[in-house]
Amino acid sequence: MEKDIKFFIDGKRIDGRAKDELRPIKIEVGVLKRADGSSYIEWGGNKIFCAVYGPREAYPRFLQKSDRAILKCRYNMASFAVEERKRPGPSRRGVEIGKVTQGALEPALILENFPKCMVEVNIEVIQASAGTRCAGITAASVALANAGIPMKELVPACAAGKVDDQIVLDLCKEEDNYGQADLPLALLPRKNEFSLLQMDGDLSEEQLEEALDLGRKGCLEVFEIQKQALKKKYITEDVLNE
């Protein structure tokens, strides 16, 4: 898949970033009226909405668990989010990302309070540009907090990767397409464990360790942005309520 691309110019990456630098991230909280919790994230060229519904009775019934709520995550990409129109409706890729998103978020939630219920996370990608699953998980975690779902901690996510034999943070489109490895991660910051970990490409053991460390650093930066977004929302609301 590699192409003859110059990934580094004067130590800077294709889009001018340093190796350990994130793309710009902006998170808004409570952007949708109908949903119980919601958020909007712009991350590099990605634009993603997230809506959370629940806890409400799980449906269809056979999905209900007697000892806790279930978490359903739906990841959808709008047909117009990419340059070549995507066929509307669920894709195999979307199904898999929904599944790993659920796996990334669930360890941080306290679902035991709501037996037979479900919490639904809807992630809608309006514009896509590498790293949508990490951006979606990041936004979803904030929307879950906005919906008041009890949680142990927020879940920030961020990819590390390898391009031109170097470990870098938060791959951009060209790095994702033509790089050597992509390692999307989600972090449980307090527990210090990874709840999302996928990798495709080619890494040595040492490179993996370096990438996990760099990815963790990126996740912690994303974590700060998540907290700021929530703080801003609630301070603003407090001010308005006074």
């Binding site: 949708l32 009226k33 109908r34 949903a35 060229g45 634009k47 909405f49 997230c50 809506a51 519904y53 409400r56 739906r74 959808n76 709008a78 047909s79 117009f80 989010a81 990419v82 340059e83 129109r85 509307p88 409706g89 669920p90 639904e120 809807n122 809608e124 309006i126 514009q127 896509a128 540009s129």
Partner: protein, 267 residues
């Protein structure tokens, strides 16, 4: 497209209407706040975010190339799709498009197609062989009433803002050059509901939940009516229909002005 609202709420809304007031303080012909943002999805050839009150929709336009339909060899292909995604309402479900989404897509599609808003003949590259294929995809993000108008406005605005790759005579893309769609008109749908003999423009979700009937009238710049669609319950008198048509022209012109402003900002 209905929610459960207690009979008490219905009685309350009706009693307010008898005194000439709507629950949210609007006059019978007032629109909720409208926000229109062109180009929200930059990977698409054209896109538009429309917010009416708390209803939020996005329309994306994408252009491909393909064969024309055998019965219209001298026209481009035009397809409209709507997704009532679970994000927008606790009542929407994932899965294949339901009746409501199909109806919505077909009404928006006809409102544009039948009005002649797009000059489909100018989308032909080689007659009978190669034409532009236009997709309009509607994503409902937040459903709080009056989806038809929000989607109709988003679709026509996205089309007016669309930039297609320019083509040379053989139909090959000219790198970096873009052309606008051959747009001719700005048809605007205006939706009214009847509740206990009061006729209200731009219904809120609460008003839709208690309405007796609903109708959408699409008018053009010239004041011509290009489409009408009674909704899925109730009925209308002839006089009511003619009254709604007259009011639609005024509201249609207001929204057209708003769009024209946006279009000129864009240039």
């Amino acid at each position: 497209m209905s929610s459960v609202l207690s009979d008490i709420k219905k009685d309350y809304i009706i009693s307010l209407l008898k005194t000439g007031k709507r629950e949210d303080g609007r006059g019978f012909d007032d629109t909720r706040n409208i926000k229109i943002e062109l180009g929200i999805a930059s990977k698409a050839n054209g896109s538009c975010f429309v917010q009416i009150g708390d209803t939020k929709v996005i329309a994306g336009v994408q252009c491909e190339m393909g064969e024309p339909f055998p019965d219209t060899p001298n026209q481009g292909v035009f397809t409209t799709n709507a997704e009532l995604i679970p994000m927008a309402s606790p009542d929407f479900e994932a899965g294949p498009p339901r009746e409501d989404a199909i109806e919505l897509a077909r009404i928006v599609d006809r409102g544009i197609r039948e009005s002649g808003a797009v000059d489909f003949q100018k989308l032909v590259i080689k007659e009978g062989e190669l034409v532009r294929v236009l997709f309009v995809d509607l994503h409902i993000m937040d459903y709080n009433g009056n989806l038809f108008d929000a989607c109709g406005i988003a679709a026509i605005a996205a089309l007016h803002s669309t930039k297609m790759p320019a083509l040379d005579e053989e139909g090959n893309k000219i790198e970096g050059e873009f052309v606008s769609l051959p747009m001719k008109k700005i048809p605007i749908p205006c939706t009214y509901v009847k509740i206990a003999d009061s006729i209200l423009y731009d219904p809120s979700i609460e008003e839709e939940a208690v309405m007796d009937s609903r109708i959408t009238v699409t008018t053009e710049d010239s004041g011509k009516i290009s489409a009408m669609q009674k909704g899925d319950v109730g009925s209308f008198k002839k006089e009511e229909i003619l009254d709604i048509v007259r009011r639609s022209k005024i509201k249609g012109d207001e929204i057209r002005s708003l769009l024209n402003e946006k279009f000129s900002e864009m240039r």
